[in-house]
Each structure stands twice: as C-alpha cells, then as structure tokens.
Symmetry: D2
Subunit: 292 residues, 4 copies
Amino acid sequence: MKIGFLGLGQMGAAIAANLVRARHDVVVWNRSAEKARSLVDAGATLAASPRDAATASDVVFSMLADDAALNAVLSGEDGVLAGLKAGALHVSMSTIAVATAGDVAARHAERRQRFLSAPVFGRPEAAAAAKLFVVAAGTAADLESARPLFEAISQRVFYVGETPSTANLVKLCGNFMILAAIEAMAEAMTLAEKGGVPKAKLLEVLTGTLFDAPLFRTYGTILAEEKFRPAGFAAPLGLKDMRLASQAAEGERVPMPLLSLLRDHLLQTIATEGEDIDWSGIGRTIARNAGL
Amino acid sequence: MKIGFLGLGQMGAAIAANLVRARHDVVVWNRSAEKARSLVDAGATLAASPRDAATASDVVFSMLADDAALNAVLSGEDGVLAGLKAGALHVSMSTIAVATAGDVAARHAERRQRFLSAPVFGRPEAAAAAKLFVVAAGTAADLESARPLFEAISQRVFYVGETPSTANLVKLCGNFMILAAIEAMAEAMTLAEKGGVPKAKLLEVLTGTLFDAPLFRTYGTILAEEKFRPAGFAAPLGLKDMRLASQAAEGERVPMPLLSLLRDHLLQTIATEGEDIDWSGIGRTIARNAGL
Amino acid sequence: MKIGFLGLGQMGAAIAANLVRARHDVVVWNRSAEKARSLVDAGATLAASPRDAATASDVVFSMLADDAALNAVLSGEDGVLAGLKAGALHVSMSTIAVATAGDVAARHAERRQRFLSAPVFGRPEAAAAAKLFVVAAGTAADLESARPLFEAISQRVFYVGETPSTANLVKLCGNFMILAAIEAMAEAMTLAEKGGVPKAKLLEVLTGTLFDAPLFRTYGTILAEEKFRPAGFAAPLGLKDMRLASQAAEGERVPMPLLSLLRDHLLQTIATEGEDIDWSGIGRTIARNAGL
Amino acid sequence: MKIGFLGLGQMGAAIAANLVRARHDVVVWNRSAEKARSLVDAGATLAASPRDAATASDVVFSMLADDAALNAVLSGEDGVLAGLKAGALHVSMSTIAVATAGDVAARHAERRQRFLSAPVFGRPEAAAAAKLFVVAAGTAADLESARPLFEAISQRVFYVGETPSTANLVKLCGNFMILAAIEAMAEAMTLAEKGGVPKAKLLEVLTGTLFDAPLFRTYGTILAEEKFRPAGFAAPLGLKDMRLASQAAEGERVPMPLLSLLRDHLLQTIATEGEDIDWSGIGRTIARNAGL
C-alpha cells in the first residue's frame, strides 16, 4: 500500500518510522524538510508538498501540531484536498477541535475522499515502540482498511463510531482525565506533606491500593520528585487541549467545573513559571498556593 | 492473643469474623448487641461494655461510624480508656478526623496505653475476603505486634510513620482521590454522551488505555449504568469524609479547590436526590446540570 | 456634522434616535431595512449599504450584535472600510473581543481612517433616555471630536486610554462584575431562604446597608421575584460576553476562577432552562442546585 | 434602664461608650479588665464577672470574638445564664454560628430569660460614630424594648424575624457578599492591569457607573493601592466567618461554589502572606496567581 505521511514532529516521525519498518511504501512531507532525513535514509521518499504526498498515496496520514497546521496542510493549491484521489483515505491523528474534525470530514466528503479521525494516546516513547493506543472514528469499512497500518504502530485500536469527530471528543476527554488525575494527586500530596506525610509515601499507598495504573505511577513520581522540566508535554499544549475540550463543552452546553479548574491552574502555572514547564507543573502551583 | 473488637457494622463484623476465623480469642461489643450474634455463634465472646472488652484484651480494635461514636466508646466509666491495661494496644480503624486521632493518641499516652491508628481501604466484600488494605501509623514496635492480626484481615499493610494521626490523613486523601476520579469520569462521560459517544464506550477506552485499574472499572460501570441505589457508600458519609479532609486542609492552610468542588457536588446531590444515594451519585448531578 | 449609524437593534435604534433628536444629519443602515422606518420618519436618511453610510459621514457609529456582524459591516466592497474617507472617524460601540477591537483599529490605521472604541453600559431604557455610560479609548483628539455626540446619548463619558481595545476590556470587566454580583446575591439568597429568611428580606438588608446601588436593587428584585423571562439580556449573550472575557484572560495569562464559575452556571442554566432565559437566570440554577 | 455590657474589644468598647454617652447606667465586663478603664472614667461601673454584670441589669449586651468566647461568658458559675433574672434580656451582637445562636436561644428560654440576636454591620469607626447597622431577630416585643438602645448606637435597625439565629444567618450572608465583591473586583482589576488598564482607572469606571456604593469605593481603593496591612479585618477572622457560612450551608444542603472559592483564596492568602493580612488580601493572591 502506498502511504503518505504529513508532519514529522516527535510523534509523527516515530509513527512514520514504524510504517517504513513494516515495509510500506511511505512518502513523507514536513514543513521543514530536514526532519525527514532519517526517514529517507530508512527508505521513505520525500514529497515536495502535502499535495504531492497525497497524490501518490492510497492512504495519507497527518500528525500536526494544531488545527491551523492541519488546515494549512489541507487547503490551497499545494494541499491534500487538491491532491488526494477520490476513494483514497485521509487518516488524521492530530489532537484537534471536535468542530474542526467535523469540517475536515465534510470537505473530504464533498470530494468523495474518505476520512478517518484517529487520534492516539501515548508519548513519543510509546510511539517509537509501536505501543500507542489508537482511537478511531469513521465508517467501519474505512477502519478495516486502515487496521493493518494501525497494527504496525499501536498496541490496540478502539473504534468509537461512524462520526469521525467523536474520536477527537474521546481524545480530549482522555487528556482531561489525565490532567484531572494530576490535579487530584497534587492536592492530596500537598495536604499530606503539610500534614507530615512525605509525598512519596502517599504515592506508595495510592498506587499500592486503588490507583494501581501506570499513569498514577508516572505522573505521581514527577509530582513527588518535582521534575517539571524538561517538559514531556508543555503546559501551553495542555492549555490548548483543555481549551478545545472547553469549546466542545460549551457547544454541547455541558458545565465542567473540574475542567474549568484545570484551565485556571494551567494559566497560573504558565503565568508564574513560564511557557516551558510540563503540564503536570500545576502540581507546583498547587504546592505554592499552600505556601510550600 | 486476647483481642477486643468494638463496632460490628458491615465493616467491623467482617473484620472481626476474620480474626475469629484465625483462631484468636475475640471479645466483641456493639451498641446494639444483636449484631454480635453470628460472631458469638462462630466462637466470639460478648462483652457488656467497651470497658469490659478492653479489660480482657491485649489488643482492642475499634471500627466505628464517626468521631462521636469513637469518643463515646472511649470515654466515661464504661469506656475503653478506663478499662485498657497499661501497655495494652488500641488499634483504631475508623475514618475519623486527623485532630481526633491526635486527641485519642494523647489520651492513651497519658495512661501508658499504646495506640495505633490503622484505617483501611476496601468495601465490605473486601473486608469479608480479608482483602483490605491497612494504612497504619504509630510506633514501629506497635505495628510489628499488630502485624499478624492485620495479616488475618488484609492483603497488604502500609506503614505511614510514627504519628498515629498521619494514617487518618492518608485515609482521607485516599477517599478524596476516589471521589475526584468519579467527578472526572462523570464530567467526561457527560460531555461524551451529549457529543454522541455512549458513556460505556468512553469507559472502554479509558480503562483500556490509561485508567486500567479496578477503581475506574467499578465506579465507571456504576456511572455508565446509573446504578446509584442502593448505596454502597452513602453520599452523606462521603460528605462527612470530605468535610474531615477539608478541616484538615483548613488547619494546615492548604487550599484544595477540587475538594471544594466535590463537597459542593455532594451537597447538590443530597439536596436534590436525597440522603440514600451513593456518593458516586454526583455523576447524576453532573449529568443533570448538563440537561440530561 | 454628518453622522452614519450602523446597526439598529434595540440599543442602536435608541442611540441613533437621540442623535437625530440633537439635530444631527444622520444616515442610518441596518441589515433589515424595516427597522430604520421610525428613524427615517424622525428625519434620518436610509443608506443602501454600510459603505454608503460611511462615505457620506464625518463620523460613523456602529452598534452590532457581535464580532462577526461587525466584521461583515466593515469588510468587502460594500463595507465601511471601503467607504470611509481618510481622516473620518469610526466609533464602535459593540461589545466585542479585545483582539477584534485591536484588529479593527489596525485596519482603519492602514487606511488613515480614525477609530475610537466606545462600548456603553446601560440597558435599552437608559439608551432611550440618553443616560448611557460611554467607555471610550483612542486618541484624546478623537475623543474630543466625538464628545458632543456622546453628550447627546449618555450621562457620562469615561476615557480609558490611547489603545482602543482597552475600552472593550473594561466593558467585559464590567459585565463580569455584574454577573458576579448576581451570583453572590443568588447564593446568599438561597442560603437565607433555606435557613428561614425570605429572599426579599435579605435583599432589604443588603441594599439598606452596604450594597446600596441600583444594580443590586434591580437584579436583587429579579432574583427575589424569580422574573427571569422575558429576558432583558439573554443567557446566551451573557455567555458570549463571559467567553470574550475568558479569551482575554487566557491571552493575558490571568486565572479567573470566579469567571469560570459564572460560565459554568450560564451553561447549566441554558442546558436546563433553554436559550430564552435572562442571564440572571443563574439564580434559578443556584436555587435548584440546593433543591428549591 | 440598667445595662450590662460584656466584651470590650474595638467594637464592643465603642458601642458601650455610646450607651454611656446616652446616659444609661452601664455595667461593663471584659476578660482583661484594663480595657474597661476609659469606660469607667466615662461613668460606667466595672463588674467582677459576667454573672455580676448580668445580675444587675435589665438588658445585657455581649460582643465577643467567637462562639467559644460567648459560651465561656454564658456558662458556669460566673456566667450570664446563672445571673440573668427571669424576664431580663440578653442581646448578642457577636458574629457566631447559626447553630450556636440557636443553642443560646434555647438555653435562655429554659430559664425564662429573653434573647435577641443582633449582630451588626460596620467597622470600628462606624461603631464609634453610632452609625452601625443592626440586624435583629427575636420576638417583636423584645425588639421594641431594645430599640431605644439600638438607636443610641446605630443608624438603622433591620428586623429579620422571630427566630434569633436568622439574624446570624443574615450577618454571615452579608460578610460573604462583601468578600465576593472583593473577589470580583480583584479578578477584574488583575485582568485589566495585565491588559494595559490601571486598576484605579477600572475602579473609576466601576464606581462611576454601576457599582456606586461606598463598599466598592473603600475596598476598591484598598485593592488599587494594595494596602493590605495593617488589617482592618484580618484574613483569619474572614476565614472564620466563611467557615461559619459554610457550616450553615452544609447544614441546609446548599452548594455555594463562590463561597468555596473565597475560602480557598483566604487559605492561600494566609498560607503565603501570613495571618496578619487583611481579608481583602485575597486581591494580592489573585494578582500573584496571574504572575503580577
């Protein structure tokens, strides 16, 4: 199968490498072409534009920073929409707004191009190890055609439903849940510490009892050791995702007071610590607010 | 070893039964004596007062509903303090205020009685199966002397430190974490459902990826199926625990806005649904607030 | 002076009428022309497009529903930007985003057109009575040239500074303050009522002591009498303003937890009561959340 | 009329002085007697105990720091309850818990002593100038008998109803409203300042338009000038009042998320700034959280 891949950041590059490794014929494109070098060395071809990558492909993946970047890659003379054949498939893995996913789906439908929204859970290490989780929505047929490719990059695929944008909604819910877990741990650890219980001790009890999942271990350790830099996922990116969730919630008329709290804590963290701190840096804010 | 056991509610009765089963010599007491019947049938002895149960014992356990019940059992002519021998040990398993645990520790110390605070995590089924988690604080020597007893009733013991009340602080932090997890899931599920994703589908993704722990499965299912009655842990009891956590936080000067949110949602739930709903009924409140 | 006036909703029509009454030569335009009839009867002229209204005028006022409506009136072949003479003045009275005001200022500056941002406080009755408050920002010279016109429509003019968009920021802060006052009164009234004190009695004490301002009397009475329909200012419009404030706060990295709370209460109100309720309908939500 | 007066702090001493000035026969008592000196110089008599002050009086006023101080003055051999004649009146002006006021009322009723709860609004300067606002609850007859005394110390008396504790509920609602107004102003000022509008400029617009009441001028100026020390009303006292309001709200099952926010901001302020800051110091916290 001929595959296009657009967007070679940390995540995209790792995913594309796994597709190359699985012996697919991969055409890559990135805004700054030098990021494509190691993929080309591994056997990928470099395209001159998103359109060129799309024209050559049965399936084109995109993994871009935000809604604007995705729109830029889709639109215009050099864009995917102009190049993708009728019947070919675009798989969008970016974390974007629910409304944007709906727009993109409609634009492809107008051109009889197929579209699957398939954001992923997992950090760059998981992407490199082909251990991502894929959350996909679109027609069942499109999912089946993409499944072998997903299997080359992930440990598991979840099928959410027919409407592509619902996959994005689930992705935003997941990121909200992660930050909510960080907030809860950080508040509990701050209370514990001021009350004479070391943060690591509380974490040992939590992960040894009810919160026995890697998420709590990973972020709990970051909180206990206060290792907020370098950022694995920077606070402004977390803020962007919470804003997207908030926009979806506003559109659906869903009050989400915990989401509101998370946004306010991210804002405080960025205002007082700078833009380069990890999103789990809300833990520092919570501790500072208690005078620690 | 001669063991006293005070408080035979659902939790206490199950724990005491495991101590009897482990062939200890157990003297039980409960405010209403009829709850002791099955334990007596199993081999326990019934005491006429907390004092009598304490006088006869090397170790006396208490598992009571709240601070007032514990104080009633400790104080006065018929109380534990009057009966317990110098050098004998009181193990308090109740979920009580941090400050109360400190007071109890001081009152025992005045009388050269030993004191271990050892609240537990786990529901009645876990108690019956000897699968509780014990969170203990007090001197290391006291913990060691109680350890064989804990092993008869639990799957694991955590030692928090020398100051008994810190175990209660950890217990309150844990209950806060559980309700925070329910809040987060309920907000996410409400957004998902209004956006076209069934709650059970979101739960499948969450527990299949990052939130792969029994807590999320158990409470997630309750939320997805809206099974808030009969209550496993009634909302007013949850409110009591959040109030105790809040008092500790106020005493330590720790702002905990997520804890504040949980209290307000419990209050709304009780005000609109009644006192008999499970504490996870905040999920209903969150859904109703979105018009569901 | 020749004056253009764009946007003849309740507010715009009342303001324009006062300009006509002050014997200015007023050219009016509205998307649906029939709303201009009474003004034309009173002596105004009807323009065929925003551009025509602008071309004929030394000063053109706009009072439109939102950012999109303002942009539509400004842009394109028939827009204000194409028509307004160099050196002529646009006075924007709409409640719009801070960022939008900045964009509009820049677009006028490119064409050497002058721009004053001058949103107002006051409801339609106040507009009709020429009792508005004008909050203006732009150059001092531009303010002075507009001052006689402001005097014909308002009771007082506040000059905020040189940067036009700061007037919009102040306007959003003011609307936030109003809704915050409603929230505070509604929470207090709900507590009072459940505790045996009628809402009107609490209001009498509040406005008779520390909160002796028309705002508290007006909205306090609405809350006490639960007169949330017909809406004086509909909840979705209030939500729009809170969203604009929230966007400004996010841009400036300012956590505003009270603003977040107001947004969530507006969302709940709209979700459960519908789109036609007054923004003070958050009072109903607050009462319902307490089981009233 | 013979009057007893218990509690000569800043507020109590100023009120008692006005009663002396109105030529009443006043017997005073304070825990530390030296605070009574200037009143004795002005014509008051010093009592040796609360009981003695009560025994001699037709009406005994109390103005004490908190629930514990009031209970201490009422109870025991030397307390008011033991001394006050049947049919004599106790007027309690302290800011205390609603539940405490109910208890005190019941204890007086048992002894056929009369009881009026009459907390006040106003700072020490207002007390000295006899410009307080009295919020009274109890029987109408008791209010009428106390009215001439209230007129000697206040500018206006509000009658809330028959149940004494409702006056305390109204007082707590009022203090909640004041701190809510401070919160709202502080959030708005922080946004304004980061957006380029000086705090004093925003305040000028607010108080010149919709918030034209002394409260907003007074606290607005404190916020604009950041004069949080010395405290007029210290943050821990404010926290006590918010806790009392919160207890009342919990008892009545009323979620009050804005009250929760205020408590958390007071906690942060005390944790980071110390116990000696004014309760309006939440304004500093709000500014710091935005990086100012």
